[in-house]
Symmetry: D2
Subunit: 345 residues, 4 copies
Amino acid sequence: MGKKKIGIIGATGYTGSELVRILVNHPEVEIALITSESRAGEKFSDIHTSFRGIVDIVLQPASQVEKTDLDLVFLALPHGVSMDFVKKYHQKPFKIVDLSGDFRLDSPEVYHEWYQKEHVYHEGFDSAVFGLPELNRENIKQSELVANPGCFPTTAILGLAPLLSEGLVESRGIIVDSKTGVTGAGVKPKEVTHFPNVNDNFKAYGLKKHRHTIEIQDTLNKLSSEEVSLQFTPHLLPVDRGILSTIYARPVKELTTADLNALYLRYYEGHPFVRITPEAPSIKDVRASNYCNIFITFDERTGNIIVLSAIDNLVKGAAGQAIQNMNLMLGLDETTGLKQVPVNP
Amino acid sequence: MGKKKIGIIGATGYTGSELVRILVNHPEVEIALITSESRAGEKFSDIHTSFRGIVDIVLQPASQVEKTDLDLVFLALPHGVSMDFVKKYHQKPFKIVDLSGDFRLDSPEVYHEWYQKEHVYHEGFDSAVFGLPELNRENIKQSELVANPGCFPTTAILGLAPLLSEGLVESRGIIVDSKTGVTGAGVKPKEVTHFPNVNDNFKAYGLKKHRHTIEIQDTLNKLSSEEVSLQFTPHLLPVDRGILSTIYARPVKELTTADLNALYLRYYEGHPFVRITPEAPSIKDVRASNYCNIFITFDERTGNIIVLSAIDNLVKGAAGQAIQNMNLMLGLDETTGLKQVPVNP
Amino acid sequence: MGKKKIGIIGATGYTGSELVRILVNHPEVEIALITSESRAGEKFSDIHTSFRGIVDIVLQPASQVEKTDLDLVFLALPHGVSMDFVKKYHQKPFKIVDLSGDFRLDSPEVYHEWYQKEHVYHEGFDSAVFGLPELNRENIKQSELVANPGCFPTTAILGLAPLLSEGLVESRGIIVDSKTGVTGAGVKPKEVTHFPNVNDNFKAYGLKKHRHTIEIQDTLNKLSSEEVSLQFTPHLLPVDRGILSTIYARPVKELTTADLNALYLRYYEGHPFVRITPEAPSIKDVRASNYCNIFITFDERTGNIIVLSAIDNLVKGAAGQAIQNMNLMLGLDETTGLKQVPVNP
Amino acid sequence: MGKKKIGIIGATGYTGSELVRILVNHPEVEIALITSESRAGEKFSDIHTSFRGIVDIVLQPASQVEKTDLDLVFLALPHGVSMDFVKKYHQKPFKIVDLSGDFRLDSPEVYHEWYQKEHVYHEGFDSAVFGLPELNRENIKQSELVANPGCFPTTAILGLAPLLSEGLVESRGIIVDSKTGVTGAGVKPKEVTHFPNVNDNFKAYGLKKHRHTIEIQDTLNKLSSEEVSLQFTPHLLPVDRGILSTIYARPVKELTTADLNALYLRYYEGHPFVRITPEAPSIKDVRASNYCNIFITFDERTGNIIVLSAIDNLVKGAAGQAIQNMNLMLGLDETTGLKQVPVNP
């Protein structure tokens, strides 16, 4: 049996190039098509020069998707654009992993409220599976359409899922204070990503209304018996990659740090990409890898639980998780092609 | 009347060099003495080469303090060392600003608990004034011994003082999630400050037990009618200078963002170094200056108050604040020599 | 006699904000006008938020220049735009310091060749003085129009002037390998200044044809009895500010490192902003200050002279040097308002 | 036939961890032993926490080498220490790749002159092969002892080999102006690698006497018919990984940029890790990969050839090249386990 054929729609951004970086050494699939409307006709390596001599495939217009025999397609497109492609491709014989935010929320209405945009494909919400394998592995295996989670939500949900599933913390008053690298803001230069505005600097942004707030809250709500309300504050780090979320919650019963570690180890048993660590993780501990490192502790003085959750936003927060989903959807071992060791330093 | 004569005890660290950087252009004082035990006999500019041709003073042993006619002495020494000097110098005719943590807490007992060290000069606690001019201006003016606040506490206390003074928030459950530049860890190379361990990286440290926790809590307690309990989590940024604290608190009554801004503007009226800003501050907004920028907002969705408080840890968090205290102690205008504009970018 | 009145034309860029940062504490001048076409009507501090409460002046359209009583005007405009303003203002009663490249070269023809643009004001070349005070102090004092040097040329010319003036090196085959911070590329976001393209990265650019090549070569030619030819290669550092040029030249006669140091000390005697240092300078040794640090050595093994020359590109490479020129043009002491100590770290 | 058994002597440094990072996914070898004197008994992942759950091998004392069945041993030790191990192990049945500088030079005498240290194992020089596969592939295949090249020399030699082999440039007067990331300075914290001394900073070091000078010069001498003399100046970049060398040479006959590119393409044909690129390479173009990117151009105005040569100092400049050598010594395909795509950004 030959390798599975993969298409990547959208080649100019960071998630597109990161998908290619990982897939090129994946033993069970081959990249059959990479598309870009704006750069069609150019070589992939003309845009991403670090791929010279490695991936010199010529970029195609998206119209080539339907002329190519594909098993699975990644949509590496901005939100609001992706939904048009899902609508068009949903009945095609290939499966879809959508890396945008277009099908992650509960309904078109919630989408409209937080993305300030009318959704054009309501039907997609019925079939889309939220692609966090540690929560939804079996559903993902059966799915034709996976909504790949956001980067911040991956840290926050993995960091909180055991506590909320077990009803161990107050579901209101949770704080998620997150810090992200700049690649999360995309490949397109803007004032906020201009080097002198970021270097040797640090600031919060998107206070009170960042779209990932609702993605985190909705997903945790499904795990929790009580209505979840959480405060999410993102900050911009002067680094390329990586998210660290510092999470504060209040237990509803007596717990020790040892109890919490036992719970987390048990909850993530059999999930190879979550590592419960004995030390506070740094973002370099997971850089360029698909791991999520989680540290949990209880402060007896204040009565708070503190969870630290770290990922590489381009890997476990985007392309790596998308490939983890692809592996499940194609019946492959979940870790195939994803065994890269973190690059540290 | 001539200029006041200043001594700086401890020249090799960042607070020492930052004191000199600012004082050299201060119109009302002159640096009469800089001491260093380990580098006595060398020029100040041999150690801090950016001062070549500007400050070529030869470093003296500390024994010169008593042979020099001085109006005020800065102790730029590590905690645990500083107390010996305060004990020795306290009855001398010059005033003292101590930049260490040795006299900031309420008592030798609290010091012992959080610094794991016996305090050798209990009497110092009776006369030491906590040198945060925005809270203690009049006491500082009268004081012979000022304990200059820690860097994290400066952000947290200035960020929370109006709320606690007015009894507007729950005094338990306050979260202070702080992020600091590396100079806060001192001039001496260690594993945690090794470039490849910090660059493009980010992590939390000192969870649950950082010494500044008690300094913040004790100071706020004096402002509050209720017992304060707070969670303080410091993180290490890959930047040289700057602290941003993201503070979460829950109001005890209905409040709007406008109410909060009005309160903060009123509270800090007449305090030229606190700026209540309409935008979330970045640490570069205050870099190399003595300002503290504060942003405050209320989230109606969650019911939380969020305060962002930013300083340069070496200036408002150390040397600049020490000079602000000096100005008050010497009867000068509080802002003399401290009007540097932030260096951004 | 009152303070001199200064206008700044162009407020949104880095040179504009850096001029304001320094001038606001200058004891002999006052900022009477700041203009911006694109942001007129807004406050200066709305654009540069670190100036909140310090410089809240409302920006004016450039048409206000002629309605304001001014002693001197800084043009902080892009090249190609500046020439129009010089043409218009040249006969006005105020003096002009032009920070663009429009009047630095020898003739409109040379300008056209290297800037690929027709020059609209040929007459300006007759009166413009190249504003490097260490070479042209007396001419600057008499000038109505000063062309403020480029950032790279400041390092290269100061680094080579003593050698070429004395005819000590081969005038052909000089190598200037320069490395600059990102602010040199301007305030406007572009692909080359997008944070993930710069951070943890390094590359050369503008090989063989950077416009500063001719500025360096033409200026050195005037000092040299032989025709100068030099190779200039700029590189982009992942830092905000600072240029270090590493310069290689071959002596025409026997020389020692001691000879070279004596020559440089003598050449720059009485020039307070050039420091001949005993150690290889770092860019932080001069950061946020108007100093140029120069280190010179002879390698007996290879027979090469190596010169290292470091400045802050926004200060001695732009705004600081412009103010140094202003001081000379207004009959003030050259160092007035420019005594800031380097900010390190 | 089973996998080859590999030992790594020295586990705490960057080359040790980088060897493990790559070898753990190498399909033809297994790591049978990792030693550390100072940390024996601890897990590899206790020291390098990003390996948690991936490489939890317990570190052994070096004495275990002789008790283990090994095919090849990497010495990831400081120079001056490595020679003792080579002396001891040279007659053992396993092959050796030495990553230190102890056997790279021509003779013990040259070693003594540049390393200021007596060499204890003169015999090693007879059999050691300089491990640059692009020059010495066949010799490496036959060798029992390979001296893995230095990081700077790898860029400089690969950048200059075609020109000197063909006698196309003046062999005297070559300039190699190199810029390196901080990991080149090792894992041990020192003043020069203290974060605030490197971040937002840049400086030259080791002027005139860096040990890699002689390694570059000696190797090029073997390719050249004329005696080579070159000036090598390293600089320290505020980045983790990567070296860019900017090389200047003067042609002895007429050449075009097209001629030079054709020459380089021909010279490196069949060498999969050297990429001759149409654009000036950035160090991120090769980060975390085994590639060396080379750009070459001729400047008609000045008559200089400029070569830009970029590697990751920890991969092609150390561990990756060592594994490339291992592949050749063990009869494997040269690229086995080394196909990682550069991590950019």
